[in-house]
Symmetry: C2
């Protein structure tokens, strides 16, 4: 994976939080995921397929999911109900959709978003894929985006 | 979702277990997922996209994951390590790939498989998608396949 594949996800995530949620994200250092990495309690997952295939996981602390959903829905949810799950899935979908538009050379399409819940859940990738992780913090808590793509063929010369 | 969308996943799953793992699956009754449903401890997830989009979740008890991986790899794993995770991801990929071939009218492509671990994890769908669940039992334990597809457009008349 190269920077040109990751940057669209970073800009899409920060733009989405800023414009839809009025929430500024502060980016931490990029790292390759090792097996000990753990996501936060709520993870939106969306599959990508096209000339390459992959997955995007947007993992956030419970408080971030509640505040983000509350901002979208103009309410104050206190538990992870179906509205919060829909909001997390939709945010994941928008982030992946905006990034996809910047990666048009791969003709990507998106699967449905799933949301995984559980304090001790782990989302694992095939061992030949090492996802790139970018942590963020915001006023509500921590967010992590992971992008795992299968080896991307070089574009043909024009 | 109609039976013609679900049957390819049922036949693909039973065929894959029979031919790759020499394991016969006994099918239980089909049901629509309600929010209380819980998957087993190990879940393979793969996204589908094309003329429709969706997700397949293949959830299995820990013992099934260990025995299935052991059969594929000709070893006897006792914990869910990266080999077992790869095996569960690969089985999910094969099941989805075979079913996709029988649904060619939707021109589906597959994302990378992820594997979710955790005793108390839940994999949720958008609230407008009600996945169809088909439980199975085998000599190793219980397996559940869930298929969630967005509303499928009617095929155009020829």
């Amino acid at each position: 994976m190269r920077a040109e594949h990751v940057n669209p996800f970073i800009s899409s995530l920060t733009d989405t939080f800023q414009t839809m949620l009025a929430c500024s994200l502060n980016r931490g250092g990029i790292y390759l995921r090792d097996s000990e990495s753990c996501p936060h309690e709520v993870s939106g997952i969306i599959g990508l397929s096209g000339i390459t295939s992959g997955t995007v996981v947007l993992s956030m602390e419970r408080e971030v999911a509640l505040k983000a959903a509350g901002t979208l829905l103009m309410c104050e949810p206190t538990e992870i109900d179906s509205d919060v799950i829909d909001a997390v899935g939709e945010i994941t979908n928008i982030v992946a959709g905006q990034a996809k538009a910047q990666l048009e050379q791969y003709n990507l399409s998106l699967s449905l978003p799933n949301v995984v819940l559980g304090r001790a859940h782990r989302v694992c990738y095939p061992s030949d894929v090492r996802p790139i992780c970018i942590p963020f913090t915001c006023a509500w808590g921590s967010v992590l985006i992971e992008i795992g793509l299968a080896a991307v063929p070089e574009p043909a010369l024009a």
